[in-house]
């Protein structure tokens, strides 16, 4: 089975500072992979390189076999993303934003797809509201709706539930799990909420100083390293990565 995302020996440095240091990993269809690590570990840098908005220093990225560096448009047709730091333009309405991004992603039967997503993400009341007027939770739901527009084979989510209340966050997690289970795609997910990661992700990668330090099942990985839960393991990765490197 072809991986939806294949990252091979990826590296990015800014001058002397190495942000991502030769990482390799895959995301398979129907799989949710958590990309975890402390601030500055290289998660967002990795996501930006996968999205084609940041050129790697070396290494390759393939989305379903399409090379992002040499076949950018065709590769990105299969991907989409939502990130808390990339809100949609506030001077357009919910409907206008979804229509424009639907055109950019060449979505078939766009009007029906936009209506479906507006309904699915509970945005009907805001259809003709400018996005700048949405609450942070509503804006996050809109970003997720936009991320689902083209039924992506690779969905990149950078802290997708960070500004949602627990009830809506749970609904969103269910929708994302259903997307991975029923659709054709895989998901790369970053979050600092370790309980959420343990609940949602099939596999996690711990990044520290641009390297993948640990990889495994979020339910068993903490015990394998003598920790009670994922949060404790995260704290160890953040504070004492050398201990884990030696282990």
């Amino acid at each position: 089975m072809v991986s939806v995302l294949s990252v091979n020996n990826l590296r990015k440095a800014y001058g002397e500072t190495v942000a991502v240091d030769g990482i390799s990993f895959e995301v398979r269809p129907h799989e949710i992979v958590g990309l975890l690590g402390p601030n500055g570990a290289g998660k967002t840098t990795t996501i930006n390189m996968v999205l084609g908005v940041l050129e790697p220093g070396s290494g390759t990225i393939h989305i379903e076999g399409r090379n992002v560096a040499t076949d950018r448009s065709r590769a990105l047709e299969l991907a989409n993303f939502a990130a808390v730091y990339a809100p949609l333009p506030g001077n357009l309405t919910v409907f206008q934003n979804l229509k424009i991004f639907g055109l950019l992603y060449d979505v078939a039967d766009l009007p029906a797809r936009v209506d479906e997503l507006i309904r699915q993400f509970d945005l009907a009341a805001f259809r003709d509201v400018k996005c700048g007027r949405l609450s942070s939770g509503e804006a996050t739901r809109l970003c997720l709706a936009k991320a689902m527009l083209n039924r992506p084979h690779l969905l990149l989510l950078d802290e997708p539930t960070v500004s949602l209340d627990p009830s809506i966050a749970r609904d969103i997690r269910l929708k994302i799990r259903a997307f991975a289970r029923d659709g054709v795609g895989g998901i790369l997910w970053t979050s600092h909420n370790m309980y959420e990661v343990a609940e949602v992700c099939d596999r996690v990668l711990f990044l520290s100083h641009g390297k993948i330090l640990l990889e495994g099942d979020p339910k068993t990985l903490p015990r394998e390293h003598g920790k009670e839960n994922l949060e404790e393991l995260f704290i160890t990765v953040a504070r004492e990565p050398l201990l884990l490197e030696r282990a």
Partner: protein, 267 residues
């Protein structure tokens, strides 16, 4: 190239203009003010000049064409600035949209907005000051075309400058037409310029248009060779401008600028 992606860029700009008085009014307000101001100045000059020369087609016609050139340039840059102001680069450049499709969208948006400006100016100049473009005959087509292509080229370069230097660099872009106008000979023949200025004038496609305009209204012969040279230069500048934009964009992708674009992150 996929047209629907270019169309998305145009549609975004249409939505913004349709829903905003502050975006609609500049399409015609300033050019209307310019036409009225210069129309009155030319009427006054007609009454005091002893030569009997009609200044309306010379000066008001020149103002109208120069304003059209500015509108075309600003049509491109304004569409681009909307992405700058709404911090939309990460969203838009992580889609399959190519730089060619994006520039195509900027150009088509400019066609629409500059055409509105041109129509308003023509109506106002004809209705209030009796300026008829019929006097230019078929030459109006190459005149407009050369100015349009030049405005597009300058607009794309302006976008590249702002992409490279950051949002605050838009203040470099607004005065460019004013900086070029002395060299383009909008109001006077190039022959009165010092030699060093004329060197620059010959490199500016609009100079050939304004020389042609003066030749037509004074009953002289328009240099078709000069006009063709202006057209060729404008096409070359568009190709160069696209290369510059693409080069700046690639550099921005290499440095990570696209992903963290803001006034503070660039300098």
């Amino acid at each position: 190239m996929r047209f629907h992606r270019t169309y998305a860029v145009v549609l975004r700009h249409f939505y913004l203009i349709r829903g905003s008085f502050s975006r609609v009014s500049p399409l015609f307000t300033w050019i209307a003010v310019d036409i009225v101001l210069w129309g009155l100045i030319t009427k006054y000059l007609n009454t005091v000049a002893a030569s009997g020369v009609n200044f309306i087609p010379r000066l008001l016609g020149a103002v109208l064409l120069w304003d059209f050139f500015i509108r075309v340039m600003q049509g491109v840059t304004m569409t681009f600035f909307e992405d700058v102001w709404s911090r939309n680069f990460l969203n838009i450049f992580s889609t399959p949209l190519s730089t060619g499709e994006y520039i195509g969208g900027l150009v088509l948006s400019s066609v629409a907005t500059s055409a509105i400006g041109l129509v308003v100016m023509l109506i106002l100049a004809a209705a209030v000051f009796g300026l008829s473009f019929a006097v230019l005959g078929a030459l109006a087509v190459p005149f407009i075309l050369v100015l349009f292509l030049s405005g597009i080229a300058l607009g794309i370069v302006g976008c590249a400058v702002v992409l490279r230097l950051g949002p605050s660099a838009e203040w470099f872009i607004w005065p460019i037409p004013a900086f070029l106008s002395p060299f383009a000979g909008v109001f006077y023949p190039l022959s009165i310029l010092p030699r060093w200025m004329r060197v620059f004038s010959y490199a500016l496609p609009p100079s050939y248009v304004f020389e042609g305009l003066r030749a037509v209204v004074s009953g002289g012969v328009v240099s078709m060779r000069g006009l063709a040279a202006g057209g060729c230069l404008a096409v070359i500048y568009i190709l160069l401008a696209c290369r510059i934009f693409t080069w700046v964009y690639r550099k921005a992708v290499r440095s990570g600028l696209i992903a963290r674009y803001s006034a503070e992150s660039v300098s």
